[in-house]
Symmetry: C2
Subunit: 395 residues, 2 copies
């Protein structure tokens, strides 16, 4: 796959008879195995694109599921065919790394609703032959996890050794431990929260409004028009990107430095480096991400509230849990501040669950979970090694 | 004036011969009195719309200049003809109020570059007969203050008793004390900073990109096309509005409450109250504000850096100042956090200037300077009363 999946699907939607062949393995689920969605609709057929690293052991007890964040994909440890860049967690996953592929079998699947090869709004709706667009039911984090469960069962895995993920990936980790408490030996929710806050919903809504205000969005039917709402999606990305960084990091990296000039331009071009940087973030994002998927995945995060089915009592969500938890937060993350991880830790304590907690000191903001943070890597290594011993995976 | 000035000007631009009559007084400056802009251009003719409250005393020593924020106008103490709402500082300005109009003569003018009646991008360019659009030179905070100085001189006022303002208004206050140190007896910069931070520039740039991505913006020539970039401007306003509030206030006011429904809608309508609220903020803003003015005024704030002409040494900017300062910040303001006011206080201390400082405890974020905050009102009252005694305005 040299272009992103949505483009290939667009080609197909536009009339090509060539079979769609993603570069990663894909699990297909037919009419007999529908995905039951929270929206009350059975989705069938559907498919999940995924990658694996390492080998599944004989008793299938060494599997780690990696859950990706909003704009990531199922290439955490191998180059993305979309961008050509190394896997987004390549310092963390591989031989001799904290998620050691000589010991563990690592699975990472593209989320349902995404645009990396799993069924999403850019996928063809068998009923119409057109891309789903907004005809795809709204997807929740629980739907993503239900689909992952079906994929994991295809491997004959009964219990995952660990589920690990940051941000929206961390929401999936929490959902796994609540929806399938007996199927997760260890869980590492990183830079996440038990629910999406009002401020976070607000920033997502701004992004969605930016996309939907773009006349090239066409009510979600842009593929049929041969268009894409790139300007709106770029503004959405710029907005989100600021929330991923910290004020300190922005000050340190950019401050008020000017871009290729000594004095103000007295105009509306990018005078400041921070402006050029943001514009670049916006313009490169639209090449690798589908606008409708952005609507669906932000909506999934907005809807996430793990305590909602437990009368809002977070501790009740974890009652009786045998999973070992390690919560990780980053001190300068203001999208999912440490207080939100701490609230989960308190609930786990109240539920008498096994939990450890690490707040990594860094000025890199929310994005720190994707950046070089040795303390983060050490925490992951220590926790997984200890859990692996408890699971009898090594001496 | 029942509609906003830009609409009346649009009518005029569209061919009406009717003279433009704003509802407030306007000071006209002709070719012999150009406004020298930082961009290196002389602007002439230009005009300043303003309002006054109270009476100027015989020796013209009781004048307080109120400087307004980005989206405000020159109606701080009387109903805005645009919105019909009470003046934006009406609890603060009036008979017996902290800015007591029985003692003080209050002047507030619409900033140059704005859209409330002073010359801005929606004003007619005498050269072309069309609205300026982007042909108006970029305006700085110093330009705004230069224009205010010319207005104040029209009243025959040599020295202002006080200059008071919040946010962009606070920047103007600081600029007055540095550009015209002998002309300001007392200064109250509120919820502001000595320079615009990288994060604040980033949020402004997002807003500008949202406006400029709207195809109805037409490179700034939307009046000529009979259009307005309302969708882009609404997204810009939504983005800015989130930065004006605190996470705490959003949680307290909205949390995850749903709007007129018990369960999720599983769609992209406004499910959450915070979404409805933001959409409302966006859609009402476009009725009262000109999109090009939004570009110009955000740019003015981005460019603001009071120490830039003093080798970046803030204390040098205030060297020898005889002005009495009172800095006011709000504890939950993350757009202009208390640390930024404190930096100014330290610089004033280093410059041996007279300074007091109040941090008001509140969860209302940056917007607190426009909201009912008794501690803020008391601080203003106490400082101005004391300064008035020192100035010999009362016993």
């Amino acid at each position: 796959m040299s272009a992103i999946a949505v483009d290939e699907e667009l080609t197909r939607a536009a009339g090509s008879r060539e079979a769609y062949e993603p570069s990663s393995p894909v699990a297909e689920f037919g009419a007999s195995e529908p995905l039951r969605l929270d929206a009350g609709i059975d989705l069938a057929p559907f498919r999940i694109a995924y990658n694996t690293y390492g080998e599944l052991n004989a008793d299938k007890s060494n599997a780690i599921l990696i859950c990706h964040a909003l704009t990531m994909d199922h290439y955490p440890a191998s180059p993305s065919p979309t961008t050509g860049k190394p896997g987004w967690w390549s310092p963390l996953i591989g031989e001799g790394k904290p998620i050691d592929t000589t010991k563990f079998f690592v699975i990472c699947s593209n989320v349902i609703g995404g645009c990396g090869g799993s069924t999403g709004p850019a996928s063809l709706d068998a009923a119409s032959g057109d891309p789903f667009g907004l005809n795809l039911p709204v997807i929740t984090v629980r739907d993503m996890v239900r689909a992952q469960k079906m994929l994991v069962e295809r491997f004959g895995i009964d219990t995952l050794f660990a589920v690990v993920g940051g941000s929206m990936g961390g929401m999936q980790v929490l959902e796994w431990t609540v929806s399938y408490p007996d199927k997760v030996f260890a869980a590492v929710p990183i830079a996440t929260g038990a629910r999406h806050s009002a401020q976070n919903i607000a920033f997502h809504e701004i992004g969605r409004q930016a996309v939907m205000a773009d006349p090239e969005w066409h009510g979600g039917r842009y593929f049929q028009k041969g268009k894409r709402p790139t300007k709106g999606l770029a503004v959405a990305r710029m907005t989100a990107h600021v929330t991923y960084l910290s004020e300190m990091a922005l000050h340190r990296k950019f401050g008020r430095n000017l871009q290729d000039r000594d004095t103000f331009g007295y105009g509306f071009d990018a005078d400041f480096q921070i402006e050029s940087y943001l514009r670049h973030q916006g313009s490169t994002f639209v090449d690798r991400f589908d606008a409708n998927s952005y609507l669906y995945l932000t909506r999934a995060m907005d809807y996430f509230d793990i305590a909602a089915d437990f009368q809002g009592l977070l501790a009740n969500a974890f009652q009786g849990s045998k999973t070992r938890f390690c919560l990780i937060s980053f001190s300068s993350d203001w999208l999912f501040p440490t207080a939100e991880s701490r609230e989960i830790v308190h609930a786990l304590n109240a539920a008498a669950a096994s939990v450890s907690f690490v707040e990594v000191e860094t000025d890199k903001g929310h994005d720190a979970f994707l950046l070089d943070e040795p303390d983060f890597y050490r925490a992951m290594d220590g926790f997984l090694s200890s859990a692996a011993r408890a699971r009898g995976l090594c001496e």
